[in-house]
Subunit: 477 residues, 4 copies
C-alpha cells in the first residue's frame, strides 16, 4: 500500500508539532510515516520564536533530512509537508511548506488539497500587484493572509480562507503558533494528537503511531485549531455546511493502519472485499490481490468466498530515485519492472485478481496478460469500488476524463480491453453500505464525485478553462 503502482499521482501529507524540544526531528519522522501521500518532495519549517527556518528538497524524506539539516531547523515548533510526484516535472519552487516574510514576521504554510477558485483569486491578486514565486495554489492563501487588514492573526487567517473554495487541510506556522484548519467540507483528513505536553497534527494517524503519540481526535470539517503558548483553542469560523470527506482515502489513499473518521482503513477495505464477493462472485480456484492496495480487499473477498488467498504477484520495491526505460531495441517492460507473477500459484488455476480501482486500464491489461502468461486457466478481475468515471478537483491528481477508461466505456468494453475472462465492479450502494459505521459521519455524505460526478463544490467555469493557465510564467530550471 505504500509504494504504489502509480495509477494516481497521489496527493499530499502534512504534519506538525507544537511544544517539543525535538520538533523538527519528530516532524521528519511524521513525514516519513506519511511518505505514501507524496514522494516528489518534502520540506520542514520550524521556529525558535524569533525566526522561521525552512528546508525543502526534491526527493524522499529520508534522503533529504540529514542530521545536519535537522540541526539547522531549531525550536520547539515545526510543520512539514510531503508533495506528490508529477510525471517528469521538477519544480523546486513548489516545494512546501512555502515560507515568506510578511508585515508581522515569518510565515510558513503546508497545504493538502486543491482550491477550485485559485485561478480567479490569483488573477485578482496579480491585478492588485502581487508577485508569485510558485505555481502552487497555496501561495494564494499566503497573499490573502498577508493582505488582510485584520489585527489578530486568527482573523487574518479566517479572512483569507473566506475567499477561497475547495479542499484544504492546512498547517500555518508563525514565530508564535501553529494554526491547523480543515475546510468546511472536510475533503482531506486532519487529526490531532498529543505527545507528552506537545500537540501534534497529522494527515493520518499512522504517523502518531510511529512517534508513539496519542490520538486525540480528528479535526471536524470547518474547524480551526490554534495552539500557542496559552494552549489550544478551537474555532468554527465558517457557516455550517454538509461535510463530504473523500471516499477514496478509504479505498486507496490512506495507509491501512490509519484510523480515518473513526474507522480502521484496513477493516474498511476488508469489508469492501467481502461485499464485492457477494455482489460479484466468481467460480474460481484462487484469489490474488494486486499489491499493495488490493491486499485487504482480497483478504475480505477470499474469506467471504471461502477460497484460498495467495500473494502470487511479487513486488520489486527497489525503485530508487530514477528509472531508465530500456532503449527501443528491448521490449518495453512497463509493469514488469514492479510486479512478477509466481507461476506456481497461477498455473492451471482460475485466478481472481482483486484491485481497488481501474484508471486508464493499461496497467490492468498488463497484469492480466502477465497472469495468463504464468499459466492461469482463467483470469477474473474484481474491483473494490465502482467505475472511476470523473476526475477529482479536490487534491487527487487523477487523469482527465479522456484518460479515465470508465468515463466512456461500458464494463464489458473495459473487460475486453483488459482481456479478462470476467470483470466485476462494486456497486455505489454496496460501497456505501460496506463503509457504513457508527458515529457522526454518514457514509452517504462522503464525496464520491470520482464515481458519481456529483461535485460538492463546483469548479467555476472560468477556472475550468483557465486550468492550464494557472502555472507560473516563470520556470526555475
Amino acid at each position: 500500500m505504500e509504494i504504489r503502482l502509480d495509477k494516481f499521482r497521489e496527493e499530499c501529507g502534512v504534519f506538525g508539532v507544537f511544544g517539543h524540544p525535538e520538533a523538527a526531528n519528530l516532524t521528519y519522522l511524521g513525514l516519513y510515516a506519511l511518505q505514501h501521500r507524496g514522494q516528489e518532495s518534502a520540506g520542514i519549517a520550524s521556529t525558535d520564536g524569533s525566526r522561521v527556518y525552512r528546508h525543502g528538497e526534491m526527493g524522499l524524506v529520508n534522503d533529504i533530512f540529514t542530521p545536519d539539516i535537522i540541526t539547522r531547523l531549531p525550536g520547539t515548533v515545526a510543520i512539514g509537508h510531503n508533495r506528490y510526484s508529477t510525471a517528469g516535472q521538477s519544480l523546486p519552487e513548489n516545494i512546501q511548506p512555502l515560507a515568506v516574510t510578511y508585515s508581522r514576521g515569518g510565515l510558513a504554510v503546508a497545504h493538502n488539497g486543491n482550491l477550485v477558485n485559485a485561478g480567479a483569486i490569483r488573477s485578482e491578486l496579480e491585478e492588485a500587484g502581487a508577485i508569485f514565486q510558485s505555481s502552487s495554489d497555496t501561495e494564494n492563501i499566503i497573499h490573502l493572509l498577508a493582505r488582510s487588514k485584520a489585527t489578530r492573526f486568527v482573523d487574518r487567517v479566517v479572512e483569507a480562507l473566506y475567499q477561497i473554495r475547495g479542499a484544504y487541510s492546512l498547517l500555518i506556522l508563525t514565530e508564535r503558533r501553529i494554526i491547523a484548519v480543515r475546510d468546511p467540507r472536510g475533503f482531506r483528513p486532519l487529526s490531532l494528537g498529543r505527545l507528552g505536553n506537545a500537540w501534534v497534527f497529522t494527515s493520518e494517524t499512522c504517523a502518531l503511531d510511529l512517534i508513539e503519540a496519542e490520538f486525540v481526535r480528528d479535526l471536524e470539517p470547518g474547524e480551526m485549531i490554534m495552539v500557542d503558548e496559552d494552549g489550544l483553542q478551537s474555532f468554527f469560523p465558517f457557516p455550517k455546511m454538509k461535510a463530504s470527506p473523500c471516499i477514496f482515502e478509504y479505498i486507496y489513499f490512506a495507509r491501512p493502519d490509519s484510523i480515518l473518521g473513526g474507522q480502521s482503513v484496513y477493516d474498511c477495505r476488508k469489508r469492501l472485499g467481502r461485499r464485492l464477493a457477494r455482489e460479484a462472485p466468481v467460480d474460481a480456484d484462487v484469489i490474488v490481490p494486486v499489491p499493495d492496495s488490493g491486499v485487504p480487499a482480497a483478504i475480505g473477498f477470499a474469506q467471504e468466498m471461502k477460497l484460498p488467498l495467495e500473494l502470487g504477484l511479487i513486488r520489486n520495491h527497489y525503485i530508487g530515485r530514477t528509472f531508465i526505460e530500456p532503449s527501443q531495441s528491448i521490449r518495453h517492460f512497463g509493469v514488469k519492472l514492479k510486479l512478477n507473477a509466481c507461476t506456481e500459484v497461477m498455473r492451471g488455476k482460475r485466478v481472481v485478481l482483486i484491485d481497488d480501482s481501474i484508471v486508464r486500464g493499461t496497467t490492468s491489461r498488463k497484469i492480466v496478460k502477465m497472469v495468463r502468461d504464468a499459466g492461469a486457466a482463467q483470469v477474473h478481475m474484481r474491483i473494490s469500488s465502482p467505475p472511476t468515471t470523473n476526475p477529482c478537483y479536490y487534491g487527487i491528481d487523477t487523469p482527465t476524463h479522456r484518460e479515465l477508461i470508465a468515463s466512456d466505456h461500458t464494463v464489458e468494453e473495459i473487460r475486453k480491453y483488459i482481456t479478462a475472462d470476467s470483470l466485476g465492479y462494486m456497486s455505489m450502494e454496496g460501497m456505501k453500505q460496506a463503509l457504513a459505521w457508527e458515529g457522526d459521519l454518514d457514509p452517504a455524505s462522503l464525496c464520491d464525485a470520482c464515481f458519481s460526478g456529483d461535485y460538492p463544490v463546483a469548479l467555476p467555469k472560468e477556472d475550468a478553462s483557465q486550468m492550464s493557465l494557472w502555472s507560473a510564467r516563470v520556470s526555475h530550471v
Copy 2:
C-alpha cells in the same frame, strides 16, 4: 520479501549476458530484479571485444545506472553484481565486478559466495609479491588466475579454482567470453537462460522473467560453462563431490517468484507453513505474517489451520539511502520505522505471528510488544525453520555464535526473551520433508549448517583465527 527487516545482512547476486546488443542494459535490469540479494553497491563490466569497461558505485541499481553510464558500457557481453549491505562500512574498492588488466588483457569477476581458505591463500599470494587493492575474497581468485602458467583460459580458471575452497557462483568476463562456474558443492544458486540468440546467467530465475528470457536449466554443482563466439561448452573439471545447496535460499533469501533447484520458492515456503501448522498448532483467532518473508509460510499455516489470515503488520517501504535515528531525547524507534500494527486486526485477538527465522531475538521481541500494544489478547510466534544455532561461512552474513540467540538458549528461554505467549519452531526433519520434491537433488543433501552445525566444507583453523586479519591494511577513506 524484498525490503528485508535486515536480520541478515544478505549475500550477493550475479547476472550476465553474452551476445546481445543491449548487454549492459539487460544486465542492469537483471541486477534490478536481483536487488534483494544485496543493496550496498552494484557494478557492471562489459566488453566490446577489444577492451573491458566497468562501472560500480555504492547504492541501489536504479540510482547508479543512468542512461549516460549504460552508454559508456558498450559491447554485446556484460556481467553484473549486487553486493550486500554491511553496517556502516563503506568500502568502494570492494564493489564488484572487480576488473583488472593482466597478461592477456582485461578481466572482470563477479562472485557470490565466500571462500573458507581466503586468508591462507592471500598470505601465500602476498608472500609471492601480490599486491591487494581490496579486502574481498574475490581478489584472490583473480591473482590465482593471473599467475596460472596454463595457456588456455579455461585451464587458468580451473587451476585457480583448484586452490580455493568454499562457496562460489562466479561469472568471469574477458574480451572474448564469459565463464560461469558453480562450486562443487553448489552452495549458491546459478541458472542459465536464453533470450533469442543470447545466453543469460543469473543467481535467480526472477531476473529471467523480467527480461522475458527463457529459463534453460540450473548450472549443476561443479559445472563450468564457457560461452564465446563458438557457442556454449560445459565442463565438469572438479572431482565429483556430494552437493549441498544452501537451504536458507528456500527459507528466506530467494525471491518467492524464483524457481530454485526445480522448485517454486513460494510453494516451498507455503509447504513449510503447512508443516509448521501440523508440528506446532495453536488455538488462535488470526494468523499474521511478519512481512515480507513470512507471508507464504503464513498463508500455508492459515490454510492448514483453517484460520483467517490478516496482513496486519504494515511495512513502510520508503527507507531511502540513509536513516537518521532520532537523537537521545526521543525514544529509540527501531522496528517501528519499518512496521506498524493494524490495531483493528489485533484488538482482543489471539494472534499467531509467522516468521521464517529468529536471529538475535531483538526484532522479534519488538514485534511481539508492538502486537500486544495494539491490543492482542495473546501473541504466539511460529517459525518456519529450526532454531538458527550456527553462523554461515558460505556467503551469508550471519552474526557470530555469540549473537545468535538460539546458539545458547533453549526455546523456552527465547520465548521468555521475546515475551511471546508461546513459541514454536519447525523440526529439522519437518523442514526437510516439507521441502522434499522430485528430481535429482535430495533435500537431505541441502546444506543445513546454520541449523545443525554440520559444515560440508570445514573452515581451516588458521583461517578462523585470521578472520579479523583478512581486511586490507589500507583504508580508502
Copy 3:
C-alpha cells in the same frame, strides 16, 4: 586583479543580450568576464517570448552553467547577474536575477547597487500585504513594479523607480523586452554594446571584448533604455541631478582592461601611480606591487621614480570553492595562503610596496612582515588612494566605521600598526587630478564618500537604525 585579496567583499555585475539566438550562452560568457565583480552566486534569466526561464546557483559562473543548463534557457533574450561573496552566509533565495510571475506575465530583475531607503519601502510594502521571499533590496523594486497601476510597462518601471533612492544599475527582462536603467547619480557603471543585430548591456566593457561585441556607449546617469522588437528607445525619466559615479571603480573594482567613463582603467591606475610617486617619493631599490590590483599603479610609480619594478609577491590562484583553515595546533596562515615573497627580489633591498588601499590594516601588516622576513632592508608602503575613512552605502560591501583603520587612526598610527618603515597615501586632490580627463564627466563629480564622508544620497535615519532588521524573518537552510 581578478582573484582579489578580499579586502572588500565586492559588489555585483550585470549583463544582458537582446536579439541573439545564443542569448543565454553569450550571457554566460559575459558573466564569466565579469566574475571579478561577484563570486558568491550567479544566475541567468531568458525568454522565448512566451515564458521566462531562470537558473541560479551558489558558485562560480563556470561551474554553474553546464551545456545542459544553457539548453534549458531558450530564447533570444537573456539577462544575468553575478553576486558578491559574503563571509560564510549562504542565501540561495538572494541569487539574482530574481524572477517572478505578476499580473502581466513573467519578470526578471538583475540589480547592481544598493538602495538607501530599502528598509522604509519594505515596511510600507509589507504593511500593504506584500510577502517577501528574499532579504534583497531588489525584491522591493519588483513589488513596486507589480503594484503600479500604470498601463505601459515603461511607466510601471518609472513609477517604481521614483520611489527608491540609492544606487542601481538595473536590467529588467519580460517576455517581450529588456529595460536597462542607471540611477540618476550613475553610481555604478552600465554600458551598451552591439553584436551584429543584437544589443548588449554590461557592467564593464571587458565583457564586450570577450564576445567580440562593439562598444557603443555608456548609459548616462538617469538614462533608461528599452529594447524590444521595435528597436531601442532611450528615456530620461528622472529630474536632472548632479552625477556622481563611484571613484573606487577606477581605483580597485573594475578590471584594468575595461573602459569606464571613456577612460582606460589600466591607464587611470598608472596615472595614480605616477602621481603617487610625485606626492610620496621614497629612496629605495625596488618597487613591488601587491597583486593583482596594485600592479598598474606600481608600474606608473616605478616609471616615474625610474626605479626597477619587480613582481616579487607571487599569487596562488588555486583557491577552489572552499578553504580549510588548518586547525589550531598549526599557526594561522592568513595571507600566506594567497601570497609568497620571492626572497631573491627582497633580500637586502629597500622595498616599496604599492597597494590601492588599506581597509582594516591586518592584511598590509602581514604582507609587510612577509617582505621583511624575506630579507628586505626596509619596507615602505605607498597607497594609490587617500585613507579609506567611511563605509559605502551604494553597493560596495565595505566594513563599518569601526573596522576601517583610517576612520580613527592617523597615518603615523597606521604605519606603526602595519610595521612599515614609511607609509604614504595619495592626497584627495592628487587622486582627482590624476583621474582628470576630457569628456562630459568631471572627476570632481565622482563619488568619493569612502574617502571624504561626503555622501551624495543621504541614508535616512530610520534606515540606518534598521540596517540589521532588513533581513528576512525566514531562513532557507
Copy 4:
C-alpha cells in the same frame, strides 16, 4: 605563473611529512602550494602506525580536502600528490598516491616523473601473474617492491628501483616510515625541509614557505632518504651517473618563488630575459609579458632594453571546474577566455611580447592577433628559450614531434605562422650562460633534450612502439 595557458599539460607534485601531529593537514597545505604542478587530481595517504589511510579525488586540492576528510587521515606521517591534467580523460584509478596491501602491510607511493622502460617491465610483471588496476607507471614500482625477496624494506626499494629507468622523484610511505628517492639523473626536483622536529619532503621549496618550514637542502640525484622513528638516514644505492636535472623547470614549470638547485627561479627567468634582450633586441615602445610565466623574463628584458614594461594582457583567473565552449553559431573563443588586451597599452605602439616558449604556435598566433586588434603598430615576439623541437619522456606531457611547430619549421616559418613582425628565440648557449651559477651543478649538465634531442636516458625501441599499449585494458567509466 600558476594558472597556465596550458601549453603543456604539466607534470606532478609530491609532498610528505614525517613526525607531525597535523601531518595530513600540512600535506594538504603543501599540495595546495604545489597545485601549479598538476590540477587534474590530488590525493593524500597517511598512517597512524597500524594502518595506511588514503583519499584521492579528481579536482583541485582545496575542493577535495574538506575538514571531514582530513580528519579521516590520522597519524603523524603523510604523503601527497598532485596529478597533471589530461585533455578530457578522467581516470580515477590513476589518482596518486597509489595505496595497496602487500605481504608486509600497507604501502602508498607518490611519483613525479616518467619511466622509460615501463612497458617492458609491465609486460614482464604481467607474464609473471601481476594484475594491474591502473595505467600508471607507478604501479610497476609497487609490484617490483612487493615481489622483492629482500628482507629489509630499503633493500626491497633499491631492488625495485634497480629495474626501472627514467625519471622519478618518489615518496614511499609504510606504517613505519617515509622513503624519498630522486633518480640517479635527478630529472625532477625534490627538496628536504624541517618543521620543528618533523621532516618535510617537497617537489618545490615554495611549499616550505607556506607551512613556515625551514629549507634544509635538495636531495641529490641518486639519493635515497629514509625517515623513521630512529631518525633520518641517507643512502646512495645507485652507481654514480652524470646528473641531468630538467632545464624546463627553470624556464616554465617551477613557481618563481621556489629555489631550485640553489637558484631563485624568479632570478633565473629575469636573467634569461636580460640575455634575450642582448641576443634579440628590437626597436620598440613597450614590453608586454604573456602572463603569468613570461613576467620575470619580460622584466629582465625591459630592464636590459631600458624600455617600459606594461602588464597589458589581463588574465581571467576564474576558470572553474568545467568550461563550456560556446556552440557553433558563436565564434570559437579560445585564448580570449583567458586573456584580454588593454587597448590603451597597445594602441599605436610597437609591442614586444615576451613568452617562455612556443609549443604548437596556435596560442601565440591568437595572442599576436589579439594585440594587433587592440591597435598595436607592430607586434614582435621574443622567446626566453630556444625552439622546442623534441618531446619529453621524463615526466612532462609535451605534444609529439608532429605537433611541436619548431620540430619541422624554421624560425621564419614560425614567425609567419604566428603573424608576428619579428620573432626571436634565445640561443642554446645564451640560455646556458644565463642560467650559469655557482655551486655543484653545472648548467651544462641540465637535461635540454626538448631543445637538443639529446636524451640522457634512451627510450628502448620496444617501448617506443608500445607507448600506446601501456594503457590498461580496463576502463573504469
